[in-house]
């Protein structure tokens, strides 16, 4: 039972990444590799600051700002520099590896005996793993509500239109480059924020913690979509959160089968690949009709 609570907590904390990636992957409609750099960037920024005695809430906020800068650079390379988005993201991701080492001064920093956003007496009194459930729930609720509000504003609608049809957006006066840069900044800011929170939850920041992040974030988006089908935009954000929790539960089940945590990246990739192919597989194998036949009685 406690493992399930832990999975839900992790799912809620990591949902920040899924919701953040949704802004670029689904709304702007491109894969942004920057996140593999901005996630550890946020983690190393926050952890280094906390290790130097700075307030953990302030450190987490600064991580968000540093993340937006990573997004800004990718956005400028893509829109003004005309570098393909995939490559622009990879460039910033690669560069941030060095930046992260500069920030941390070593390959990893521990938060042992340091205060973090999980250190408050109230959270410490909760049963085991319930602190991450509580913090995760509060954070993802605030972020999701803020995004729901933002996407319904005039700028939010212009942002959606940019990803939907850039030619049309420009023809009615929307500055699409600006919208793209804004989306990348917001997305990477949230990813870095997520990195800061998750590093504090883990108790350390590591130079390699960005590897496979995009796969995990994508998995929550895709699992949410496969599980719930056609939804409105606001509902889709909630589906990502549920997808993130489902993904953690799948991982838990796989670990129970006897796989080790070393296999997690392989398993993550397989889970995502299967989830992405599921709609096609369903059609190819006629799974729907097989299932229907199985449950409807013959007349």
């Amino acid at each position: 039972m406690s493992m399930i609570v832990s999975s839900i907590g992790q799912g809620l904390l990591w949902a920040v990444l899924g919701v953040a990636l949704f802004l670029t992957f689904r709304i702007l409609d491109f894969p942004d590799m920057t996140v593999e750099g901005s996630f550890p960037l946020g983690a190393s920024t926050a952890v280094s600051m906390i290790a130097h005695g700075i307030n953990p809430y302030l450190a987490t906020l600064v991580a968000f700002i540093v993340g937006t800068l990573a997004g800004l650079i990718t956005g400028l390379l893509y829109t003004k520099g005309r570098i393909p988005i995939l490559l622009a993201g990879i460039l910033v991701m690669t560069a941030s590896l060095s930046i992260n080492l500069r920030i941390m001064g070593s390959a990893n920093i521990s938060l042992l005996n340091q205060k973090s956003i999980f250190s408050s007496a109230f959270l410490q009194d909760l049963p085991k793993y319930f602190d991450s459930v509580f913090v995760g729930f509060i954070i993802i609720t605030i972020i999701t509500l803020a995004l729901v509000f933002f996407l319904q504003t005039e700028i939010g609608q212009a942002f959606i239109a940019t990803g939907d049809n850039a030619t049309m957006a420009q023809s009615i006066g929307i500055k699409t480059d600006r919208m793209t840069i804004m989306g990348l900044m917001l997305s990477n800011g949230l990813i870095a924020f997520g990195g800061a929170v998750i590093a504090q939850n883990n108790g350390y920041a590591d130079i390699n913690m960005g590897i496979g992040i995009i796969v995990i974030a994508l998995a929550s988006i895709i699992i949410g979509e496969v599980a719930f089908g056609d939804l409105s935009l606001n509902e889709r954000l909630v589906a990502v959160i549920v997808g993130s929790i489902l993904y953690r539960l799948v991982l838990l089940a796989v670990l129970r089968l006897g796989f080790s945590t070393n296999d997690l990246n392989l398993i993550s990739a397989i889970v995502l690949a299967v989830a992405m192919m599921l709609p096609r597989l369903r059609r190819a194998l006629k799974l729907d009709s097989v299932i229907k036949k199985g449950v409807t009685t013959h007349d």
């Binding site: 005039e154 939010g156 609608q157 239109a161 049809n165 957006a169 023809s171």
Partner: protein, 251 residues
């Protein structure tokens, strides 16, 4: 005569290996002009539109807006006073957004977009039901439908409404009925004519349909090899026949 709204002076536009698409083109566009634009493929009609809209660089000459040189103004800035309907129904609307959302977006053309709520109120929906009903293709019953699920004719009707939601100083219609079936095409052409004349819009309309070119508008120009070879208005235009027009195409 009054001062033109737009004035093209000796415009030269080249592409690729110094191929001149527009060769010292001159054109004055006056308020209330509804100009049909004819010409063979490669005559420079689309280039003319892209030049006015700001998507193509002008090599020499000047494009004036109320006497102000806008040759170097960015395309996105020119959308403050120029609106456009494309030939491809897919290009003019955001497919995953609803009809009402698309209209809302278009309503902000030329204004600053802020963090205020987009304001899709009941009153707005009622207004939209009214203006879409005019198009006569059931668009008014599909305000909450994603535009990707509309027919080509409905999408083009929506694109047209979006372009005219905020009255532009110049409306560019780039063969906007060409991708539609004959009946839908005629319906949209009639609606276009109705809107342009009642709202006294200034418009340029490219068409390959000679009878449409003669029937609609109060001015007609023919482009050939990058220059205007015929420019007639009102009575002179009414007196034209399809046979006479075809002669200009041969040169």
């Amino acid at each position: 005569m009054t001062e033109p709204v737009f004035s093209l002076k000796n415009i030269v536009v080249t592409v690729g290996d110094n191929v001149q698409i527009l060769k010292s083109l001159n054109l004055d566009i006056f308020e209330g002009d509804f100009i049909t634009v004819l010409g063979t493929n490669g005559a420079g009609k689309s280039t003319l539109f892209n030049t006015i809209a700001g998507n193509l660089h002008i090599d020499s000459g000047q494009l004036l807006h109320h006497g102000r040189n806008i040759s170097n103004e960015a395309a996105v800035t020119r959308t403050n006073y120029i609106a456009r309907v494309f030939q491809d129904p897919k290009m003019g609307t955001a497919p995953r957004m609803t009809v009402a959302e698309n209209l809302l977006l278009a309503e902000k053309r030329g204004q600053k977009r802020t963090l205020r709520s987009r304001g899709l109120t009941k009153e707005k929906l009622a207004t939209y039901a009214n203006i879409t009903q005019v198009m006569g293709n059931n668009l008014d019953t599909r305000l909450q439908t994603a535009t990707g699920d509309l027919s080509g004719g409905q999408r083009q009707a929506l694109s047209f409404l979006m372009a005219t939601r905020v009255k532009p100083e110049l409306l560019l219609l780039d063969e906007h009925t060409a991708a539609l079936d004959p009946k839908t095409s005629e319906q949209l052409m009639l609606a276009t004519n109705e809107q342009v004349t009642t709202n006294n819009l200034t418009a340029l309309m490219i068409t390959h349909n000679l009878s449409d070119a003669l029937k609609y508008g109060n001015r007609l120009i023919i482009l050939n090899a990058g220059t205007i070879v015929l420019d007639v208005r009102n009575d002179e235009k009414s007196a034209l026949t399809e046979e006479q027009i075809l002669k200009y195409f041969i040169a």
